[in-house]
């Protein structure tokens, strides 16, 4: 099986990747880091010849009741046009309100009202880009008392109504399930047809008034519990392009590539399991 796991392309590795051209199934970039004409932006446009790209946005704020910001959408659409990424994604969350941007993936109540907002914004994004996008489950630290749906139910409806794909961040499932006292297996009830990609990352445990709360800090290797959940996820939904994310305390490139190889082994093993079961 050829590799299907990729790595996040981060600034400290850019020169090494441009020079060494390591083998990886794809390179993921954060859209918001490549919107101005820096040397880094020129470098990734050159890397297009050799790599498949995944463009992951963090600032479209698909959950904003006020809608997506036109100016930002135009800039992201311009990058999609220049880079022609194989995959485009953002999150089930919001980060803009009242003209202020919070640089956080803030949580939504899972209500019919929020569902209408997200579906409208995702449809607008897909119409503007002329393609399907994938929406990622967030890492949650709180839930709202007036939510009427579970997160998997909400995600399923967003996918069904908008036609978007679902990017399952397995670390986020683990973090959310722990923090909100949920069962990670609830996410396995999603329809395999909607699931388009996986993300894997490390998390940290912080203290919240004496109780551990898991923080999705992308600052370490993928945890053992997340690898175990990943194996279950792959058995349920099948192999999908899988990203190793690492954004704080960024290690040597070889560590990222090593994690991606481990993801490939897990994808391959689960694929064999599925083949035997068939």
């Amino acid at each position: 099986m050829s590799p299907i796991a990729g790595i996040g392309l981060r600034a400290p590795h850019l020169a090494e990747i441009a020079r060494e051209r390591p083998a990886t199934a794809f390179l993921e970039i954060h859209a918001e880091n490549y919107l101005s004409p820096t040397q880094a932006a020129e470098t990734i446009e050159r890397l297009r010849a050799d790599y498949v790209f995944s463009m992951h946005a963090v600032g479209l704020s698909l959950g904003s009741a006020a809608g997506i910001d036109d100016a930002h959408l135009d800039r992201v659409a311009g990058l999609v046009k220049r880079l022609q990424p194989a995959y485009v994604s953002d999150h089930l969350s919001w980060s803009v309100a009242g003209g202020r941007y919070f640089n956080d993936l803030l949580p939504l109540p899972y209500t019919e009202e929020a569902l209408d907002v997200v579906v409208r914004n995702v449809q607008r994004l897909q119409d503007r880009l002329g393609r399907q996008v994938s929406i990622e489950n967030p890492s949650c630290y709180l839930g709202f008392t007036h939510s009427t749906m579970s997160e998997p139910e909400f995600l399923s409806e967003v996918a069904r109504r908008s036609g978007c794909g679902l990017l399952l961040d397995v670390n986020n499932i683990h973090v959310t399930a722990h923090n909100l006292r949920l069962d990670a297996r609830d996410w396995l009830t999603l329809s395999p047809d909607a699931v388009t990609q996986y993300h894997l990352a490390g998390h940290a445990a912080n203290d919240a008034d004496g109780e551990p709360i898991l923080i999705d800090d992308h600052g370490s290797r993928v945890g053992d519990a997340v690898w175990t959940l990943f194996e279950e996820v792959v058995r349920r939904f099948g192999a999908r392009p899988t990203l190793i994310e690492w954004d704080t305390d960024i290690p040597a490139l070889s560590v990222l590539l090593d994690e991606a190889q481990r993801a490939d082994r897990a994808l391959s093993a689960a694929g064999d399991h599925a083949a035997r079961a068939a």
Binding site: E32, N33, L35, S36, P37, T38, Q39, V58, G59, L60, S61, S64, A65, A66, D69, A71, H72, R75, W94, S95, V96, A97, G98, G99, R100, Y101, F102, N103, D104, L106, L108, P109, T111, E113, A114, V117, Y141, L142, G143, F144, T145, H146, N179, L180, R181, N206, A208, D209, E211, I213, I215
Partner: protein, 255 residues
């Protein structure tokens, strides 16, 4: 009655900026981790991550004051002046003014000007390398037409002045181990900040060159700009100054 989504988002936005909102607290599920502690995760993340973004944009300020002091200053700034859009390299336009009025930093009177230099370098770094005026572009212009021409500065180029020798303060911050001291009264700085091929940097200008570029940037003709430069600096000579700035790729176009 649960908060409608626009109200909930406005309340959570206020909360992360530091203002507790009772109706928000009532909307968040609390258990062995109380709702307030859960909300605090977001408040901390917003202010911490914006501090990290500001540290990337203002590395010289950070080097001069140390990480802990910078974090406190950035957090106070961020709580009052959140980004208005998601591109964090474009966040911090108001930081130098804030630094200038930040009481705990008043012992470092040059700090706001260093922040202006960091910001100008950041703007230049994110600006395109084209268009740039080359000497060949001037060949087609009739000499008698030159005085009335307008010359635009390269994208991201900026003239920066300070009463402090900020170019030397900047240099000491690049090598903290050197322990070199700078006499704050050793001369004013006039800098041209530019996007270069692979990064951004600055050069020192004469008073005449700085006045000349400021006049061109303000839309004055070559003749007017040269006159203003000479008025500001009696030893200003247009021809070598223009040649130097052309060589530095300081101009975008002539029209």
């Amino acid at each position: 009655m649960p908060l409608a989504l626009p109200d909930l988002q406005a309340a959570l936005a206020d909360h992360v900026a530091g203002h507790d909102r009772a109706e928000l607290l009532a909307s968040v599920v609390g258990d062995s981790i109380p709702a307030a502690a859960r909300l605090r995760v977001h408040r901390n993340h917003v202010l911490h991550s914006l501090g990290t973004a500001l540290a990337a944009t203002f590395p010289t300020v950070q080097a001069l004051v140390g990480d802990e002091f910078f974090r406190g200053m950035a957090r106070t700034f961020a709580a009052h002046d959140l980004p208005t859009q998601p591109v964090l390299s474009e966040y911090g336009a108001g930081f130098s003014r804030f630094v200038g009025g930040y009481t705990p930093a008043r012992g470092l009177p040059y700090l706001a000007d260093i922040a202006r230099l960091d910001w100008a370098l950041n703007v230049a770094f994110h600006s395109p390398t084209e268009p740039r005026l080359a000497s060949a572009d001037l060949a087609s212009i009739q000499v008698e037409q030159l005085p009335t021409k307008l010359v635009s500065l390269a994208p991201g180029a900026a003239v920066l002045r300070s009463i402090y020798p900020i170019e030397r303060i900047w240099a000491t911050a690049q090598s903290p181990a050197s322990h070199e001291t700078v006499d704050l009264n050793s001369g004013a700085a006039r800098l041209l900040v530019l996007r270069r091929a692979n990064d951004a940097g600055f050069v020192c200008l004469s008073e005449g060159e700085a006045s000349f570029l400021e006049a061109l940037a303000a839309g004055r003709t070559l003749e007017d700009a040269a006159g203003l430069a000479l008025a500001a600096d009696a030893v200003f000579e247009l021809s070598p100054a223009f040649a130097r700035l052309l060589h530095l790729r300081a101009f975008a176009a002539v029209q």
